[in-house]
Symmetry: C2
Subunit: 369 residues, 2 copies
């Protein structure tokens, strides 16, 4: 049998640490995907997910796959070849939305924003107005994990509605750690992941589709490219007659339900506040050490703190020592930000003052030793 | 906290029961998707998977998703619009190959075989010869979970090679419980699942692509429809520089490695023999009770035993009582076989004489009470 790895304090871009309560559930003997015990729990999972998403959307469920499968699910269900799409890109994951929308055969207009700044409605409107014909879909990332930047959703939701376009949002990093509020923000399709602020292991991707999105799917000329991610088939398994689609991991479903119960018990507002407080203490401590935030002030994410690697400091060496000597994982930069920033995640069960103080102390030792 | 469900003896079409050793690993605190501990284990997982698949294929890895994601992975990577495809269909899952190949835009010729009988090369050859232009791909299910029937792979592999076509095989139910032997059988792409004879939980889909398949992918005019299931991107994460693609569940990866270690320690031949022995005892016991096998003699699967529901017996009532009174799950019929057959799985850790004797005793009580 393999030995237990040196236990990790997960302060990277995800996965985050998971409570003992959730881990206890995931390690129980499995049950079948149509077991009556599971079927009674499925509506509860869907209902609690709606609360966290801030939506009344009937089509709200966790699919089997990671957040990237959630992204593909939203885009493949909504897009058909030649649809016009406008995507705001202010980091690595916005770029992935562009890539996946292109694989759906869509005509994608990419609107670039400087990394570390938010997606704003002005340039999106301008790009949309340059398109001949109808804009089918507007997309952006709520919490850009690659830069630690939040993009306000309401103004882009309003723009989408004005253009008669669907609004698709990546909430992989934000869901469970800050308000997402799909209905208030006029979001038509949204995807997330279980292993960040939702406090569970990776393996499922919560998705939610508005009635307008479902109408658009009904009006498709052809079936979505993906059968595995076809939201109608997923919905038929998750509710109604529970028509078999794929063999979900009941261990993951029950563990995710446990995370949702934890969120319920803590309360969303208290949970958001816990994320903010941990982040404030972290950023203050880092600034005192002369380490500067990367993302634009006013748009910094509490759950993903991006900071500039100080001049003359070797990124990989510092991260390697934190991991080897303290068991602490923090993230490096992705794509254009590789080697230039650190990404410190305070997500879900990881968003604790204990972790913040430990990281600050360890980082001080490593940088000044 | 939720209460523990009445523990199940999983003798349905999957998931199957999982050893305590594998469950202990899945419930450990998570580590990151680029953690050095994980990176050292990834090549080991790939190597052990090759042994079980019977292949030297470099592109052999478990993706994040279920067996159905594996099916979609193989077809979406290999097929482009207008490609000619011949699929042998002798049950529910063959039908799904047809559906997914059609969503890839392929021209699919479906060759039907009676449910309970194997896919045979004769009618496949006939169908292929009626196609104008090149046949790109031939597909079938090795172990049809919906009927309990095995289709011999070697003759279809030979036919595919003769036609210059790629041979895609569904080994969801067979892998780990009987010989699959990709290289000997000239299989070019194959997918499976972790929760059947591999002895793990659901959530990953082992896939393997031959060099010929990889050449065909390199020759594509366009990228595969699916980004999430793009085998080149998956391979770049699983080996070489470990380029980030998606956040795999390290808990599942480590648990799956534990199953692979168990398989290694038991030995493949001993494991196959254990599946055959359990099945023989089960079928003999059922026949003594007057319950007849469904699948054609000579082609019956050891890990998925399909039997006819006896005349005058209410399918759902019997399965309901087995579950409620004994905690035993067996499967009902899918699609055309609904209400007509039972599907008794003896897969992975479930393939034990203890389970067989328990089921026979319980079934006797339920049928004669």
């Amino acid at each position: 049998m393999s030995s237990l790895p040196f236990p990790r304090v997960l302060l990277g871009p995800g996965p985050s640490s998971v409570s003992g309560r959730v881990l206890e559930v995931v390690g129980r003997p499995p049950i079948g995907y149509l077991d009556p015990e599971l079927l009674t729990i499925m509506p509860e999972i869907m209902a609690k997910l709606r609360t966290v998403f801030g939506t009344a959307n009937e089509f709200t469920l966790p699919l089997t796959g990671t957040g990237m499968a959630g992204m593909e699910c939203c885009l493949t269900n909504l897009l058909e070849p030649s649809d016009n799409v406008v995507i705001g890109v202010n980091g690595f994951f916005g770029g992935r939305m562009v890539e996946i929308a292109r694989r759906c055969g869509a005509n994608v207009t990419q609107v670039d924003f400087e990394w570390g700044t938010p997606v704003l409605p002005g340039p999106m409107r301008e790009a949309a107005s340059a398109i001949l014909g109808k804009v089918k879909l507007i997309g952006c990332v709520h919490a850009e994990t690659s830069t630690g930047t939040a993009s306000p959703l309401a103004p882009i939701g309003a723009l989408a509605r004005e253009l008669g376009a669907l609004f698709v949002v990546d909430a992989v990093t934000s869901l469970g750690g800050m308000a997402v509020e799909l209905d208030k923000n006029q979001v038509d399709a949204c995807y997330s992941a279980t292993q960040k602020c939702m406090g569970c292991l990776p393996g499922m991707a919560p998705v939610s589709f508005s009635d307008r999105a479902i109408e658009a799917i009904k009006a498709r000329k052809s079936a979505p490219q993906s059968w595995y991610l076809d939201i109608n088939l997923l919905k038929n398994y998750w509710s109604g007659d529970h028509m078999y689609h794929h063999t979900i991991s009941t261990n993951m479903a029950l563990a995710f339900r446990e995370s949702l119960l934890e969120i319920d018990e803590e309360g969303l507002e208290a949970r958001f506040e816990r994320h903010r407080t941990a982040s404030d203490v972290l950023i203050n401590g880092l600034v005192e050490m002369g380490i500067e935030p990367f993302a634009q002030a006013g748009f910094r994410l509490p759950m993903l703190n991006s900071v500039k690697v100080p001049d003359g400091i070797a990124d990989m060496e510092v991260r390697g020592r934190l991991l080897r000597e303290y068991g602490i994982e923090i993230g490096g930069g992705l794509g254009a930000a590789k080697g230039k920033i650190w990404r410190i995640g305070l997500m879900g069960d990881s968003a604790r003052l204990r972790n913040v103080e430990l990281l600050l102390a360890a980082l001080k030792r490593v940088l000044h030793a």
